[in-house]
């Protein structure tokens, strides 16, 4: 039964709020747009993604490597060897293009980002108690956006990426067989930590480790509730870790790129 509305519906972007409600969606719009622009540019470069023993997280894991490219990783780093001949010529031979889609999908379907970009990009709603972009028949996440329900599968792949980037972080402490330390090592070690705090706080992960259960005391060990509580803490800070990990992964690529291009020097114990 429809409600009899006396009050008129608000027009798009209008409402009676007098506070600065628009600041957060504008920051989200600018932040995500800047990240998308930089990540796309960096992914299409296909060069300067490796230096000393630092591998940019945008390019890891390296499935194929095109040798001879400036700032490319050595061929032994590649999982499947030299760049394949079947790769379409109109696309640059960039290892990032093979792998970035997976963490990208994880973030795209993330519950936090969904809420944030529906507000910032789709105006649905632009702010709380602010008029939405008019839609004839709002469908929410039931029709075109039904694929958002596959978030848990992207999360499984994201968990694998934490392991891969963890291995990269350890490798960043070894150069030509010598264990050492550089600014790049510290940057790359922080990367899987922040990604871990973000991914293990994912709502789907929380559901997997106990959220889907009605009874914690029914499990054989008491471990489930302990894990659930820790995951819930990370989940309550999901927004913070989403942004920190997003910014850090971009910063890591920028750092490796600048070192690889010779525009900055890395302070390290190897003296390179």
């Amino acid at each position: 039964m429809r409600m009899d509305h006396t009050m008129q519906r608000s027009k798009f972007l209008t409402g009676h709020r007098t506070d600065n409600w628009w600041i957060e969606p504008v920051l989200v719009l600018l932040g995500l747009s800047a990240f998308l622009a930089y990540a796309t540019w960096a992914a299409f470069q296909g060069n300067h993604y490796y230096s000393i023993s630092y591998l940019s997280p945008f390019y890891s894991p390296l499935i194929y490597i095109k040798s001879g490219v400036a700032g490319a990783a050595p061929l032994w780093h590649s999982l499947l060897g030299e760049w394949p001949s079947w790769w379409p010529g109109f696309l640059p031979a960039s290892p990032a293009l093979l792998i970035l889609i997976f963490p990208g999908l994880f973030r795209f379907t993330c519950y936090y980002y969904r809420g944030a970009y529906y507000k910032a990009f789709a105006g649905s709603p632009p702010g709380c108690a602010i008029g939405v972009i008019p839609q004839k028949n709002y469908q929410g996440e039931t029709w075109l956006l039904i694929f958002q329900n596959l978030h848990r599968y992207t999360m499984y792949i994201a968990l694998l990426y934490i392991v891969i980037l963890g291995v990269d972080a350890i490798a960043a402490f070894v150069h030509e067989g010598i264990i050492g330390l550089g600014v790049g090592s510290l940057i790359l070690v922080l990367n899987p930590i922040l990604l871990g705090l973000y991914t293990f706080g994912c709502h789907s992960f929380r559901h997997l480790v106990g959220g889907g259960k009605d009874c914690f005391s029914c499990s054989r060990s008491g471990a489930m509730q302990g894990i659930y509580k820790k995951v819930s803490w990370m989940n309550s800070n999901h927004k913070l870790f989403a942004w920190l990990s997003l910014c850090w992964v971009a910063f890591s690529d920028i750092y490796v790129r600048l070192v690889s291009m010779g525009l900055i020097s890395d302070w390290n114990t190897w003296g390179v």
């Binding site: 039964m1 429809r2 409600m3 009899d4 509305h5 006396t6 009050m7 519906r9 608000s10 409402g15 009676h16 709020r17 007098t18 506070d19 519950y111 969904r114 809420g115 529906y118 507000k119 649905s124 709603p125 709380c128 108690a129 008029g131 939405v132 839609q135 709002y138 469908q139 929410g140 996440e141 039931t142 956006l145 039904i146 329900n149 596959l150 978030h151 848990r152 709502h203 789907s204 929380r206 559901h207 959220g211 889907g212 259960k213 009605d214 009874c215 914690f216 005391s217 029914c218 509730q225 989940n235 309550s236 999901h238």
Partner: protein, 250 residues
């Protein structure tokens, strides 16, 4: 020490209405509801405002203060600048009865649609047993005072006019409290997906933002329900697991 403050209050009924200006002296510690009552006694004896406990626990005085859904009794006047005009409107999502009072009976009808609590059999000694760790989550939802600020701010109801298809955040929380209850045996997942409209929520967290009890409506209630819907309808591995083992509630 008091200060003269300027108010704009919506006056009207189902047919029509307008914003009317008032001025009143506001003293230290006053909340918006105090100021409204003062205006009522000084210059607008026929102004309607619903209230009861004045302690943020009955959920009666829900209005929109400067466009933000709030409890009038918990909104302090010193949250606003001294020269700021305070506007008070009835909740936009519900039909107006008079002035600041809206008809929230649509919410009661949603409540009646929900399959009630269906506890499992008692233990042999005639008691029910459950552990604190199993009801921690449900207890958060029991804090709800049914102020309907979340229902009012939810754009699915407020702007998208989907009140026939979505029960709203308050009742998603009620559904979560039933679905997560360790003693409950009823299965509401098919209704949560189809009749109650979990898929219409696009998790923008406005309901959480306005909740005076600080219930994490989206993170702890709606999203876990959405995940349970995914278990049932969108996850092929869970489907296989159910086929191989059982379809019982976990």
């Amino acid at each position: 020490m008091t200060k003269l403050r300027h108010f704009e209050i919506w006056r009207g009924d189902k047919q029509s209405g307008q914003m009317v200006s008032y001025q009143t002296e506001v003293g230290e510690g006053m909340v918006v509801l105090d100021a409204i009552h003062q205006i009522q006694s000084e210059s607008a004896g026929d102004m309607a405002v619903r209230w009861n406990c004045k302690a943020g626990k009955c959920g009666s005085c829900s209005i929109e203060v400067n466009g933000v859904p709030k409890l009038a009794c918990m909104t302090r006047m010193n949250d606003y600048q001294n020269d700021e005009v305070i506007s008070c409107r009835p909740m936009k999502s519900f039909p107006v009865i008079k002035d600041l009072v809206s008809d929230v009976s649509w919410n009661y009808r949603q409540n009646k649609r929900i399959k009630p609590f269906a506890p499992k059999s008692r233990d042999k000694d005639g008691n029910y047993r459950m552990f604190q760790e199993d009801i921690d989550r449900v207890q958060e939802f029991r804090k709800c005072i049914e102020c309907y600020l979340c229902q009012n701010t939810c754009h699915v109801i407020r702007d998208q006019q989907k009140e026939d298809d979505f029960v709203g955040p308050r009742y998603m929380i009620r559904l979560a409290s039933l679905e997560m209850h360790p003693l409950d045996t009823a299965d509401r997942i098919p209704e949560i997906k189809s009749e109650y409209g979990s898929g219409l929520c696009n998790i923008t967290k406005c309901c959480t933002a306005v909740c005076p009890e600080h219930i994490q409506i989206t993170d702890n209630g709606i999203i876990p329900l959405k995940e349970r819907v995914v278990d049932r309808y969108y996850d092929p591995i869970m489907w296989l697991k159910r086929k191989l083992f059982s379809g019982k509630k976990s």
